[in-house]
Symmetry: C2
Subunit: 145 residues, 2 copies
């Protein structure tokens, strides 16, 4: 696994250790991690701090040109909200740990010209599968179901 997905996975593990939804993300600019974060529904009671949103917030205010050279790594397929944030800022590339546990708005991202890479990582998959099985209410709330 590459170092950036590894960092996203570390974020997911942190969340799991805190009793939260185990999804992590890092924002990478010119091969350097500039923002990292994990889901904060359980921890902060947040309905908007999904992993990708937390990573974007962690990177802080940036000019448009910055995002155009960025790549976002996330352990799970980005939901419609996170996909929309990626489109708002014009991030051209998304690397996804897996999309079997949950398929986000990949179609809208691709139709909008965003390049997607799905790693189909077995560790990411097993972590989500176990979490969804153990905490279905928290998981369903997080995806609006």
């Amino acid at each position: 696994m590459n170092e950036f997905m590894q960092a996203a996975l570390e974020e997911a593990r942190k969340s799991l250790a805190e009793g939260g939804v185990p999804i992590g993300s890092v924002l990478v600019h010119r091969s350097r991690i500039v923002g990292r974060g994990h889901n904060q529904r359980h921890q902060q009671g947040s309905v908007i701090l999904h992993a990708e949103m937390a990573a974007l917030e962690d990177a802080g205010r940036q000019p448009a040109s910055f995002y155009r050279e960025a790549v976002i790594y996330t352990t799970l397929s980005p939901c419609p909200m996170c996909s929309g944030a990626i489109l708002l800022y014009g991030i051209p590339r998304v690397v996804i740990g897996e999309n079997r546990s949950f398929l986000g708005d990949e179609a809208h991202l691709e139709a909008s010209g965003v390049s997607l890479e799905v790693m189909d990582d077995s560790y990411c998959r097993e972590m989500m599968k176990a979490f969804i099985s153990e905490h279905p209410e928290l998981w369903n709330e997080d995806i609006g179901e």
Copy 2:
């Protein structure tokens, strides 16, 4: 103007008074305001707290059934991120103050079955027009341009 758009506009005015982007939003559930907020880019240095996101966050964690009975009011057409959040939570109806200063991802919302009402309010329009003219850098940053 109806009372809910009036409340969204009050949020926008608060933001303007704080030196921020003058966009406000309220989340309404069964004819009661349950969340309100305004853009926090200038005030908190946030890249994710657009008005609609702030209103959703203010309403706190809710079950899916709650959002299905909600309406979100916003003084300006919702950007791709905010549109994605509306889709994530399955909010069926969006009332928009105006969409001439900025046209968000209304096409994606409508294609996904969300009901939109655009009030084309002259006060909302003039407020945004003046702000964009006076603070083009802050505005462009907020829409990823």
